[in-house]
Symmetry: D2
Subunit: 277 residues, 4 copies
Amino acid sequence: MANSKYEYVRLFEQPDALLPNTWIVVRIDGRGFHKFSKKYDFEKPNDRRAVDLMNAAARGVMQELHDLVLAYGVSDEFSFVFHPSTTLFERRESKLVSTIVSTFTSYYVFSWGKYFEGVDLAPPLPTFDGRAVCYPSVGNLRDYLSWRQVDCHINNLYNTTFWNLVQKGGMNTTDAEKELAGTVSADKNEILFSRFGINYNNELDVWKKGSVLFREVGLSTEPSTAVPVPVTKTAINKDAKLKKKAQVIIMHTDVIKDEFWQRRPWILSGKAGNLLT
Amino acid sequence: MANSKYEYVRLFEQPDALLPNTWIVVRIDGRGFHKFSKKYDFEKPNDRRAVDLMNAAARGVMQELHDLVLAYGVSDEFSFVFHPSTTLFERRESKLVSTIVSTFTSYYVFSWGKYFEGVDLAPPLPTFDGRAVCYPSVGNLRDYLSWRQVDCHINNLYNTTFWNLVQKGGMNTTDAEKELAGTVSADKNEILFSRFGINYNNELDVWKKGSVLFREVGLSTEPSTAVPVPVTKTAINKDAKLKKKAQVIIMHTDVIKDEFWQRRPWILSGKAGNLLT
Amino acid sequence: MANSKYEYVRLFEQPDALLPNTWIVVRIDGRGFHKFSKKYDFEKPNDRRAVDLMNAAARGVMQELHDLVLAYGVSDEFSFVFHPSTTLFERRESKLVSTIVSTFTSYYVFSWGKYFEGVDLAPPLPTFDGRAVCYPSVGNLRDYLSWRQVDCHINNLYNTTFWNLVQKGGMNTTDAEKELAGTVSADKNEILFSRFGINYNNELDVWKKGSVLFREVGLSTEPSTAVPVPVTKTAINKDAKLKKKAQVIIMHTDVIKDEFWQRRPWILSGKAGNLLT
Amino acid sequence: MANSKYEYVRLFEQPDALLPNTWIVVRIDGRGFHKFSKKYDFEKPNDRRAVDLMNAAARGVMQELHDLVLAYGVSDEFSFVFHPSTTLFERRESKLVSTIVSTFTSYYVFSWGKYFEGVDLAPPLPTFDGRAVCYPSVGNLRDYLSWRQVDCHINNLYNTTFWNLVQKGGMNTTDAEKELAGTVSADKNEILFSRFGINYNNELDVWKKGSVLFREVGLSTEPSTAVPVPVTKTAINKDAKLKKKAQVIIMHTDVIKDEFWQRRPWILSGKAGNLLT
């Protein structure tokens, strides 16, 4: 029985390879997590179990996809970064996005019980959507990550103030919202300090800075070049083994300034060297 | 603190709305399921628990995404069909694909224990990738589904014969492969019958035909038109309620011939009517 | 001398084939034709030489690209229609758009002197831009053409009234614009009739309806099907010869109602039959 | 008369903005120029009139589109380069490609008589197709241009040898082709020298190197940055005026080595400074 009569339908599949030599960022977001966090009584403004679960799922993704050089997460979102030189799945957009989203979801649901002990999941289940964006230059990539980290700061300062007004200040949510309308950062810092004795600077970095994941490896000393260098199979295998072995680190630190990047040159170079021991 | 300095990075996000008035098929595939099925000792050629789990996950997707009119699954793949009139997520490709892949994965992992009783999942976890394809005409869509169902038949006949040669015929896998090289359907039917007393026609439809999922509703009597008709909010809500209530049916039946479609005109029309009672 | 060191740059070329089995419309527009028409003193509201030159250029395009089934033009724009079955240039968008734009421009500049006798072209020269749009159904395609023809009518009624107010009514352009602000069609008809004795219905169809170009051929009797039928080389050559010989007709007529299409079934069927004699 | 009933067809127009911060190269190619050059008896291997006409058309394009920083041409092809910072036509691919193709064609046909004195054009007319490719880094862009220039050299050496074999060596084209099959550059140089007394190095640069067009301006001293700097309207106007005034230079020189670029830093910087006087 020949399948050829129908096989023409494959012609409708459109190619979707992303532009070579660009940074690929796949950002995933929790779907309806406002409702989801209410259903499972997430603590406000931040829930330790929830962030640990998000980071565990992101670590799962990093461990299964060795071409990822970095991940940055905050709240119910995570950004995964591929180096411009990656050729994973021939850089096909749907394949990259769907694989990351699926792997993240898989680890999230699988690990739920470990972080939310005694809390049973029930439909509708947690899900995530995702998309890929290409950034041509290192400057653009770092600006992307800075954008997310500034966003993290803005939202966390707002949420911290808002929930203190509600939980300790006795306001209802409508009044707390009104109280904060039109305020700038300095105002919120002042409210936290004068009314609740909280110095925002002393809040945990995990809430103020979000989470950054990367591999702890040394830098390769091979030079890079605009013309792609033919890579031997041995070199590829060595590189893959190295990345597999390398520990995935989770930090809560500034990624806007240069220091983070200068201390870890292998991340942006995309060239893993030796394992740091 | 202004975020505007970095916000320009949003300009790099490319729009990806799929062409209006086309059928959207999102097909997902298990990643590395050959290895995965070995790890968990799936029965050969077919494992009842595995297919039931796949179908449960697909049902979860159908129940959460009411705009889906049909799903067709076989082995570790599932195709989900949106009607040409859908405007879900503004038809954005990444959003449609990632949501379906994530929802499917979520239900798959969540439901694992129910179908694989006593079998614990452990990393690397089951994951799926996916992609969207647009089909402009009903003929193209039906040819797509026919293509998948013919593929189901070809693969199942092969696998059934192959595993009978191995399990009952005492061959090793290499010899069984050689035995089947170059054979046509009639040859495999003959091998099954003469050597193992198996009439392939009597095999279960779930293996021969795959699984088709749809909603059991009546057909709306409103006429359709090339010019999109403005739809009232009341009508949309009524339609959504109906689809939510409608039972998702799983059948193992022929979708190549006209009969399946003629008996369920609401599927291709995209117009759900009343609940069938 | 090997070129291979640099040849990797070809990897940056992205495929751009348009979705199969959809109508392709390439619409081109004159760039800066407001200014251009002033430079060459086009008669207002309509210039016979200009429309004849546009139509001559469109005929040139139709004669060189046999896969086009129709063209519709008005003012400084022209829409060229490919049948869903076309595989010209593998349906590559850039190739289709640029070839049509280039061919149109070439004939426009080449034919200028024939229609604008004694008027010398000088830089900046007339140029056109273009884009392709896919329409999945015949209904969508006809709605597209109706959209353009309704636009033609609206603009021509406005321009005819405007320029009569200026040329015969002695208004300056600012006052004429004010006079027409907020008017509906009936008002403009009334102004034309009561002030200038003009019955708009008696205006020439070339201004009221625009121009439609197609090949005068009979309809093939071969049935069409969703599954593409393998076409023999002989059949292709015969078809090509036919289209080459077929006369390109220019009409100024209604393309919104059914009549135009019903009388020329070969246009939408994409199946040219015999030459009409 | 409302047009709204049909206006929905605009929803089928897909956005096509090219990725920001990448070099855009629009390459155009003569369609069927092998046949075209025979029809008008182009001299072999190279025709001075033809190359001068190509360069005149390219100069027309450079003069009308001020955002172009460079053009490189050889034979019947021309590549036009936009700086990564360009926002011309919102970087829409179809608009960029079609405008360049149309402008080039317009100048080509318009200028024909000046370069091919006494030779009348007749249908089928000269036409060009085009496409856009994005290059993320300066390295990629220069590799692209090197690719084209190496190609120019390879083809010109072949053609020069081939036509000498035919025109002076008395071979027919088939024999000349055979003679050259499998030869490397050194072989062709040797044939030219030993049989025809030609030192290939003494051939004209216009044939060996192709043609590069750019504006002769100084370099702005403003620093560049990954974060786009808000540009004032005054600055934009000043820049536009400058580019308009700047002379478009045509050179036949090496663009593979660094020297060309180092002496003209304003080209890759995209920052025109003062007019060089």
